[in-house]
């Protein structure tokens, strides 16, 4: 039982990171129906910004997190403006291929500047290095920080989406672009806001993963990015609560598979879940197959 609970704690930590990345996938998909393959590389760049802040600027965790979120926010908006916006009325496949190209550009562009070698996040000190035991389950301070950060960001996101003007505009554009325009909503602006928020969350996830697993490299985004995408599909692509639930489910399943001694199959199991969900409930866990009302 203790082992199971221990794995559950680890799974929740990993799941938090997947959930944060999945949110960006799902929000962008919701608004322009694009699977933004470059999203996982924004997460990687967030990890690097956090690394440089901590190592060379000597900033603490929280300032580094904020700088990384801000940096990724700008990057996400730029990517949308430069690469995706000119294709707003093009076929969706062109947009998808552009996203793959952007992903490769970011990965190998980063590699050009920082080299392919692994970088190690500085060891945490003081409070952040502590851990404690609750009923036989060890919880590290890092895990607490990861889950807390994620919860705060998700609550913030929920608030923005539900109650602010920008959030209402985002929901309106994702439901009906024409109708949103008729309300006087600036659709281009709203798409930029969506990229900004999604990218900031990915940046935060990048810093958290650096703190949790210590090492980062320019290709670190690829596999977690795919898993976060699976999480978004699992929960129902385009649905914000779906991405949250999906992230945690995928994280926990992956850790449980590892805990059961099948580490080699951890990726296979996640992708098997993708195949199963696509066969059994293509709209995702929280998705509804709604027909259009005529």
């Amino acid at each position: 039982m203790d082992v199971f609970l221990q794995q559950l704690v680890n799974g929740i930590s990993l799941g938090s990171i997947y959930a944060l990345v999945a949110l960006g996938y799902t929000m962008v998909y919701g608004i322009i129906k694009l699977i933004n393959f470059a999203h996982c590389d924004i997460y990687m760049i967030g990890a690097y910004i956090g690394y440089f802040c901590m190592t060379f600027l000597g900033l603490g965790f929280l300032p580094s997190l904020l700088v990384a979120m801000l940096g990724c926010m700008v990057l996400g908006v730029l990517i949308e403006k430069i690469a995706y916006k000119p294709l707003r009325n093009a076929a969706r496949i062109s947009l998808l291929i552009t996203a793959i190209g952007m992903s490769l550009f970011l990965e190998y562009g980063t590699m050009f500047f920082v080299t392919a070698k692994l970088r190690t996040y500085p060891a945490l000190e003081g409070l952040m290095a502590k851990s404690f035991t609750v009923g036989g389950v060890m919880i590290t301070m890092q895990q607490v920080v990861i889950v807390l950060t994620t919860v705060v960001l998700m609550l913030g996101l929920q608030y923005i989406v539900k109650y602010t003007r920008a959030g209402k505009a985002m929901r309106a554009v994702s439901m009906d672009k024409d109708a949103a325009e008729l309300m006087g909503i600036d659709v281009n602006n709203t798409i930029s806001v969506t990229f900004a928020i999604g990218s900031a969350l990915a940046g935060a996830a990048g810093v958290l993963v650096g703190v949790y697993y210590n090492t980062i490299n320019p290709l670190m985004g690829a596999v977690p990015g795919l898993k976060a995408f699976v999480a978004a599909v699992f929960g129902g692509i385009g649905l914000i609560p779906g991405a949250m639930v999906g992230g945690y489910v995928i994280g926990i399943i992956e850790v449980l598979v590892m805990g059961a001694g099948y580490s080699t199959y951890r990726d296979a199991v996640v992708f098997a879940i993708l195949i199963l969900i696509l066969i059994l409930k293509p709209a995702g866990l929280l998705g509804k197959n709604v027909g259009e009302k005529v």
Partner: protein, 234 residues
């Protein structure tokens, strides 16, 4: 109020609107009738800024808005109730109404206007916490109209408000259109239900395959043999 001069609109190679000119004066109800595919909806979408014309000019309150964004047109006091309602299905009735007032900042005025539109459509008040996607077609039509009114338009463009509604509901909707007009809002109404539209219109235009083929007062067109044969069933 609204003037369109020699408007041409293309969908790729298809010449959908061929040199349409029409005008709507302050306080009027003007209707644009015609068969399916005549180009009525395209005309309205172009006036609203959702579709870019190839040539021609659209003037609203003396200002040329041919290239203006839909947002600017809403700010200038124009609102479109699109064909097929286009309410935001995953939002509540209240949220839909609030989005109608998206460009306004006067909280008190918005609250008062929500009361006002709920006066026109009492059913919306009962359903204000309900998701718009779960409303019936008639209720969605009312919501779409109420939502458009929330921007306090001086001119309201209505695209097929009677589509898919029961005859009883159609009379109700048309009575409300007259009330809205009576309260000072100019109206441009696109309809397939020619009889209903002509009965409340001060003037009317008849559209056929992308061109205006006839125009006159509502009463004149009601009397016209051509119209009776083509649109009013004898």
């Amino acid at each position: 109020m609204l003037e369109i001069r020699d408007l041409n609109v293309h969908y790729d190679m298809i010449h959908a609107i061929k040199g349409v000119s029409l005008e709507v004066h302050q306080g009027e109800i003007v209707t644009l009738i015609g068969a399916n595919g005549a180009g009525k909806t395209t005309t309205l979408r172009t006036i609203a800024g959702l579709k870019k014309p190839t040539s021609g000019a659209i003037t609203l309150k003396g200002e040329e808005i041919t290239a203006a964004s839909p947002r600017h047109r809403v700010q200038m006091g124009q609102a479109l109730v699109p064909e097929g309602r286009h309410v935001f299905p995953g939002m509540t009735v209240l949220e839909n109404l609030e989005l109608g007032a998206y460009l306004r900042r006067d909280k008190a005025g918005i609250a008062a206007d929500i009361e006002m539109v709920c006066g026109y459509f009492p059913i919306l008040k009962d359903r204000r916490k309900q998701l718009a996607g779960t409303l019936s077609g008639g209720e969605q039509q009312m919501l779409a109209m109420a939502r458009a009114l929330m921007s306090r338009p001086e001119i309201l463009l209505l695209d097929e408000p009677s589509m898919g509604l029961s005859p009883l509901l159609v009379s109700e909707i048309f009575a409300i259109i007259k009330t809205i007009n009576g309260a000072g809002t100019t109206i441009l109404l696109v309809e397939q239900n020619a009889g209903m539209a002509l009965s409340i219109a001060s003037r009317a235009y008849v559209m056929e395959t992308g061109s205006i083929v006839l125009s006159g007062t509502g009463a004149e067109l009601m009397e016209s043999d051509e119209i009776r044969k083509a649109y009013l069933g004898g």
